[in-house]
């Protein structure tokens, strides 16, 4: 009998600590599938960030460094500069990447650092219990915006992919969503493109994944997926924002 669906080799055979219905697990799975398909497991180094995915190394079986909050792109830069033939990726949440680590990710792109960033946008600080993130939607209630995010007081959600696409050093920037099977398949294709961008030494690549946090959004998992589709996508449109064609730098 031919297996049509199995655990990617890179994904460890352990239970994760993620909440039921959280899409961090889906992101891990498609990332692992891409690493398998590209055959780069033995030559890849991951950088885990500070957020719910802090223990990503417990699930993805490659060499890993655990970075301080927001600093993963700087850590990845250091790794890549020492072993440039190694594939280096970071896995970061929106608090980590878009708030405390905004400078690090921007300047990694500015340098055209040849690394891949997997960016989980769930519009909230998951790990610390649901505080406002830079990506929190207008009117969205969080534990630190009890009345909903009010632009006059807390400003507007930050569109990271659009911002980074303006940077010349960025070679591949895409935003995908994990709310249904068709979009998960697209997300996987984008992650693969991002890694291929790195393998071809074209420069900085980032895939933003709209992701759910049923626990801190306070909704059941299925409703959370619907919420991504109905509320998040209008603010964070999907698509490729930068695709650098042609040869390596």
């Amino acid at each position: 009998m031919k297996a049509v669906y199995e655990r990617p080799r890179v994904l460890k055979d352990v239970a994760t600590h993620y909440c039921p219905g959280c899409t961090h697990g889906i992101a891990h799975r498609i990332l692992a599938e891409v690493i398998d398909e590209l055959g780069i497991q033995g030559n890849t180094v991951g950088v885990a960030s500070v957020g719910c995915s802090v223990f990503a190394y417990n699930y993805i079986d490659v060499d890993f460094q655990q970075a301080a909050h927001g600093r993963a792109p700087a850590v990845a830069t250091g790794i890549k500069r020492v072993v440039p033939d190694t594939i280096v990726f970071t896995y970061q949440g929106d608090g980590d990447l878009a708030s405390i680590g905004a400078a690090e990710v921007l300047h990694a792109a500015v340098r055209g650092e040849n690394i891949t960033v997997i960016f989980i946008n769930n519009a909230i600080y998951g790990m610390t219990g649901g505080q406002m993130a830079p990506t929190t939607l207008e009117g969205m209630r969080t534990t630190t915006t009890p009345l909903g995010r009010q632009p006059a007081i807390q400003g507007y959600p930050l569109r990271v992919s659009e911002l980074l696409a303006t940077v010349d050093g960025a070679a591949y920037i895409a935003r995908c969503s994990l709310h249904n099977a068709a979009n998960i398949a697209k997300a996987k294709a984008s992650i693969k493109k991002a890694f291929e961008t790195q393998i071809q030494k074209k420069g900085f690549s980032l895939v933003e994944l709209l992701s759910s946090c049923p626990t801190n959004w306070g909704v059941p998992p299925l409703e959370a997926l619907k919420w991504i589709e109905e509320k998040m996508i209008p603010v964070f449109p999907l698509g490729e924002f930068k695709v650098k064609e042609g040869d390596a730098r």
Binding site: G42, N43, V45, D63, F64, Q65, A74, G78, I79, I87
Partner: protein, 386 residues
Amino acid sequence: MKMSATNHSVNSGVKILAEVVLMKGNEAVAEAAIRAGCRYFFGYPITPQNEIPEYMARRLPEVGGVYVQAESEVAAINMVYGAGGAGGRVLISSSSPGISLMQEGISYLCGSEIPCVIVNMMRGGPGLGGIQPSQSDYFQATKGGGHGDYRLIVYGPSSIQEMVDIMFRAFAVAEKYRNPVMILGDGMLGQMMEPVSFPDETPPPDPRSKPWATTGNRGGKSRLLSSIILDPEGLDAHNWRLQEKYRRAEKEEVMWDMEKADDAEWFLVAYGTMARVCRAAMTMARSEGIKVGLIRPITLWPFPKQAFEAVLPRAKGFLCVEMSTGQMVEDVRLSVEGRAPVYFYGRTGGAVPVPKGVLKRIRDMVSGKTPSITDYYDRVAGGERK
């Protein structure tokens, strides 16, 4: 290595090249790092250490190395974390405000046990302070600065030659303990020129030769460099294991120098630039018949308590001189443990105590006129500084 009372060279046993060149401290530090096998440098401009990144930007590409100008010292120290964790021999340098920004990263480096060498060419603080030499980051370097129970191994060289020699030792010690090592210089040492000769070159290590370095698992067991341990028992065990390392460093890495100690009754205690000033003051005092010696800590952590034990039976008093309001003096008092009087003289902000000023304090100490440390602060507040 334990230093004997007369052993001045930190590099005995290493063949010294005959060639002597005149070099600025900052440039000599950079060249020494390259010759010690360093191939990675991550920097951010700040006076008075700019010649180090500038030299590295020029020289590293010539030897197949990498220089990256980071977007901040925060990013720079985290690049060091990544590069050191991937097995590279890495240097980073800055001056006081920049070193403050690195404290989080330094704590992570210690927690994840990643080696590197950090140079701080100290300037006056707090805040933006000034750009003139200072020694006011002693607490930050030796007592923490970042969060958690960690230690840096800290060297306080007092000449350009010694900075060069210590650079070789610093990389070896950092890798021996898998811990960051700091060279605590000051703006004076960075900016002045002195003749210097370089030890034989050490080749850079192959990153893949380090079994713990994250370079891709090559089909073997995946490696992890991390400082997060949520289980209290696990973190407690990790901390005590780090302490074992630090205790070992206290046994094996302490270095100091003593001058004119054999017949001395009174002792100056100073490191770095201040030790040079004290040496001149010591000569002046001796010409007046005052038997003064100099204890010069070379490792600031681990602090050379042993040096004090050796002279305590005949010491009438210790005068600690610093370019700060009194930081190392606390370690001197801890070493002396009340068995002899400890006095202090210091200036800050780039105002450097001069030999005449130190001589005056030596005379006061000998004649019993030096105030206790508590009274000293009152007198300084009253305007008596020079």
